[in-house]
């Protein structure tokens, strides 16, 4: 690991330094309790009956035999649902239990609660469902054609977004060079190592308490309340330590929580449900596969004039987050460049494939791969090097984006590009690589990519969050918020921001897991918004507390309030009091405040700055601020086998102000490696609506042996809106790895690969080989 260019801002006491995670001890000692580690006395085990076909009418469900099996306590179908049968944050049509038809192979038609998992599994086998199979729609473009088989009642269009800027025809008229290209990306499984799990317990007053591996507690609570027919205050969702999520434990968990909740209410017993990896792969939503068509026009000296794009996303069976994911794609479709004429159309279509939703990047990894490949292809056409073409067109201070938004903050794109290219001598190396002999077996290549990214939800919807800070009389602090720790480090980051303001060391701060009944609805933990939103909310809470405790401290120290310094669990006024540097322990101050009847409890609430969006022309201030990043990849291509080894990776990002340096680097490394998986290995393949992979033996993830040397440069560029200047990092780190690698492979071999992942066949033969059904795969094994 090499880190350079880090300017630590010395005006902060702790923010910007490396702090061990507040939850690390529990995690390395095996004490952290994940959802599957919870048990309750007398618990039953829940199991689901999956659809036998990806698309079929349900004619009859016979649960008689299953219900009679000894040890079975409940067998439920849609008829037993007390509330609505479906849920969904955007379009509430996702079926908790299917009634009239099944729409993908992960749909569920019945559920069982039994005294053991074995009995529950046997009972599932005894459920008889009669189906009438329907034709399967598996291609989003075909799904949108007239006369296509319908997945839902209306047409198969799940979402459509457009962006219109300037005049696209005039843009192409002014262009000397016009290029049209098609790209596609594969469907990606989040692959959190912890499969989904819940424990649902019937609560007081007919309510329900669910402890689970949940990412977005409040949307899950809305789903459970809707399906169980309960008010929100009788549904309590508690987050267990989360074993990874990456956007993935939202609607999948809504479904699981609804089902466990139904069984718990029906039996009056706690019900535990734990997915196997096979169930998780079959049922949980994925990152969308995209089919992308670009047309770009440029002057012969490389000034971009126009970009037209038509993008199709496979939404699968249900809408989930597709409308928002594809909106982000529309906003970012033309990449981090100034382009006067833009025409973007993004469609999401229903199919009978596994449904798709939020995953780290949220509609950007697909776009970044395509646009950053396209820019390299255009550079090749114009006889420019890839860096030169980028530098001529990138967004700068005060540039106007494709959606007509003026960038009012410091735009650091050139800086991040310089950071990844200068030390490597990118241009020289890129030129040398092109001179490699044709018959060389191992060829080196180097490639770059860059991006801009709107942070938080933007014009998707209301964006606000709350943090509760409760000082205890011994000077320790309890922190809680509706935004969650899911491995990304939020508990440590928010603790550090509070530590910075109150002068309490992180070891004296306890960050509680989220609980819908005890913490404020802060929206979803998504969109790299947690540091920004919860950080700002925490600052407000700290400010409120300081306003209350400062007068007491000033009185104790006999000094003006403005001279007070809160540091290292104490407060003092350096050289300002008659008693010199007398320090009062924070515990003494807190206790004094309590004795005086002063509240030591504060709720900081933060609402994001406004954003705007015009649906008609796709223009507006889509996000309140942006972050910038660039990647460089160096690869070695084995021209005999097609194997690509990533040798070196340089990543530069502008997170505004780093909060926890160690955590920030962890986000970059993890993001880059997830991006390498996207580029080289991962593909949730389906055939006619049936998944062809079921576990990690065929769905390949990067291992410790696939990791290149990674160099990271983080820019210090505090944003006036961010908490202490911080913005975001988790998603930008992941979105631009794949195009840097594809561009590097082109630099090595002269062959452009426009489809992910870069498998051996694609690199060696330039085409995909199709698996025969009878070989390997889940089909042959009857899975």
């Amino acid at each position: 690991m090499i880190l350079r260019c880090m300017k630590h801002d010395s005006k902060h006491k702790i923010v910007g330094s490396s702090v061990p995670r507040v939850d690390a001890f529990d995690k390395v000692s095996g004490r952290a309790k994940y959802a599957a580690d919870y048990n309750a006395k007398g618990q039953l085990y829940g199991m689901v009956c999956y659809a036998s076909h990806p698309h079929a009418k349900i004619l009859n469900i016979d649960t008689g035999k299953a219900a009679k099996l000894p040890g079975v306590r409940a067998v439920l179908t849609h008829e037993d649902i007390p509330g609505e049968k479906s849920f969904g944050s955007v379009i509430p049509h996702q079926m908790a239990l299917c009634s009239d038809k099944v729409r993908y192979s992960g749909d569920v038609v019945a559920i069982v609660a039994a005294e053991s998992i074995e009995v529950a599994e046997q009972a599932i086998e005894l459920i008889d469902v009669d189906y009438r199979q329907l034709d399967v729609v598996s291609d989003p473009k075909v799904a949108l054609k007239d006369g296509a088989i319908l997945i839902h009642d209306e047409n198969n269009l799940c979402a459509y977004h457009k962006v219109r800027r300037g005049n696209i025809d005039e843009g192409f008229e002014k262009s000397d060079v016009i290029l049209e290209r098609d790209y596609s990306t594969s469907k990606i499984e989040h692959s959190y190592i912890e499969p989904e799990a819940v424990l649902a317990e019937p609560g007081e007053n007919g309510g329900i308490t669910i402890t689970g591996s949940v990412q977005n507690l409040y949307s899950i609570r809305r789903a459970v309340a809707r399906v169980l027919g309960l008010s929100l205050n009788r549904v309590r969702i508690i987050q267990a330590t989360l074993g990874g999520s990456f956007g993935g434990k939202d609607e999948t968990m809504s479904a699981l929580c609804c089902r466990a909740g139904l069984l718990a209410l029906a039996t009056g017993k706690p019900v535990k449900m734990v997915n196997t990896r096979e169930m998780s792969m079959r049922e949980s939503y994925k990152r969308h596969s995209y089919q992308i068509h670009y047309k770009v026009g440029s002057t012969k000296c490389g000034i971009l004039q126009a970009i037209e794009s038509e993008i199709y996303a496979d939404a699968g069976a249900y809408a989930a987050m597709s409308p928002f994911v594809t909106w982000r794609s529309a906003v970012h479709a033309t990449g981090p460049y100034s382009i006067p004429n833009v025409k973007t159309d993004v469609y999401a279509a229903y199919t009978n494939n596994c449904y798709t939703g939020a995953m780290r990047g949220f509609g950007s990894p697909q776009i970044c791969f395509a646009i950053e490949s396209l820019i390299d292809e255009l550079a090749e056409e114009l006889n420019l090097d890839p860096l030169e073409l980028r530098l001529k067109n990138i967004l700068k201070d005060n540039s106007i984006t494709a959606t007509g938004q003026g960038l009012k903050h410091k735009v650091s794109l050139k800086e991040v590009l310089d950071n990844v290219t200068e030390k490597m001598g990118f241009v020289d190396k890129w030129k040398q690589n092109r001179e490699q002999k044709r018959d060389t077996a191992f060829k080196r290549g180097i490639g770059i990519s860059c991006s801009y990214r709107g942070i938080s939800l933007g014009a998707e919807g209301t964006d606000a969050a709350g943090v509760i800070i409760s000082i205890q009389t011994d000077g320790s602090v309890i922190l809680s918020t509706g935004l969650i720790e899911m491995g990304q480090g939020a508990a440590t980051t928010i603790s550090m921001i509070v530590s910075e303001k109150l002068g309490i060391t992180p070891d004296r701060i306890r960050f509680l897991s989220a609980d819908t009944s005890r913490s404020p609805d802060s929206g979803p933990t998504v969109a790299s918004r947690t540091t920004f939103m919860a950080g700002n909310a925490a600052l407000r809470g700290c400010h409120e507390l300081l306003e209350r405790i400062k007068p007491v401290a000033a009185e104790l120290l006999r000094c003006p309030e403005q001279d007070l310094l809160f540091e290292n669990n104490s407060v003092y006024a350096p050289n300002k009091t008659s008693e010199g540097d007398r320090k009062i322990p924070f515990s003494e101050l807190a206790d004094k405040c309590f004795q005086k009847g002063i509240s030591l409890f504060a709720h900081g609430w933060y609402k994001s700055p406004p954003t705007t969006w015009n649906e008609e022309n796709g223009q507006g201030d889509a996000y309140f601020t942006y972050v910038y990043g660039a990647n460089l990849a160096e690869v070695e291509v084995d021209c005999i086998t097609g194997n690509v080894r990533v040798l070196k990776f340089i990543s530069s990002h502008d997170p505004g102000q780093i909060v926890n340096l160690s955590g920030a680097l962890g986000q970059v490394y993890g993001g880059v490696i997830m991006g390498i998986g996207y580029a080289m290995l991962e593909n949730y393949a389906e055939s006619e609506g049936n998944p062809l992979v079921a576990n990690f033996d065929e769905y390949l993830l990067p291992t410790a042996c696939d990791i290149p040397e990674i160099e990271t440069t983080l820019i210090h560029n505090p944003d006036e809106l961010g908490p202490l200047g911080a913005k975001s990092l988790g998603e930008p780190a992941c979105e631009i790895a794949a195009p840097a690698i594809a561009n590097a492979v082109f630099n090595a071999t002269g062959m452009r690969i426009r489809h992910l992942p870069l498998t051996l066949e694609r690199v060696k033969l330039g085409k995909e080989l199709v698996r025969i059904d009878s070989r390997g795969s889940v089909k042959a094994r009857g899975g």
Partner: protein, 162 residues
């Protein structure tokens, strides 16, 4: 059937059903839930425990196979509350994110360091290649293993943080 084995340095005698997997014995019968199940197929390594000092996937081993042998789980790594140097190093370097893979990775690390106290980066990669981690990108895990190695060997530990 009755099963005798040594678990985390203590003798255990317990009745188990034939066909029971080691991971289920640990998690369900002995309440040692630090061992995690990620795939049930020996692909992810989250359920790694040490069997006579060697890392094995407890989802692929039958309980009956540990008869009269020694099993170490994450709960047995710290001795009398004292963390193993590998646990300390994972904490300090930031090698833990969601933590679900950490118990398995730690046991693979301990097995490696017991056999080879000064592993090279390449040896570390190979030894850990059976443990999938989706969060960290492995880099900080490598750094943690190297730090633990230096600590075990009493070498200088300068520049070991970030």
């Amino acid at each position: 059937m009755k099963l005798d084995f040594v678990l985390n340095n203590k003798r255990v005698s317990i009745n188990v059903k034939g066909g029971l997997r080691l991971i289920d014995l640990l998690r369900e019968q002995l309440d040692l839930v630090g061992t995690k199940e990620g795939c049930g197929k020996g692909e992810c390594g989250a359920c790694t425990v040490l069997l006579d000092g060697k890392p094995v996937c407890s989802c692929l081993i039958l309980a009956s196979q540990v008869r009269n042998r020694e099993v170490t789980t994450i709960e047995g790594l710290s001795i009398e509350g004292e963390m193993h140097p590998a646990q300390e190093a994972f904490t300090e370097t930031g090698a833990v994110q969601c933590g679900f893979c950490s118990p398995g990775l730690l046991l693979s690390t301990v097995a490696l360091l017991n056999e080879n106290p000064e592993p090279s980066r390449e040896q570390i990669r190979r030894a850990l290649s059976g443990n999938l981690c989706r969060c960290t990108g492995y880099e900080k895990i490598f750094e943690a293993v190297e730090l633990a190695s230096r600590r075990i060997n009493g070498l200088s530990v300068q520049n070991d943080k970030v």
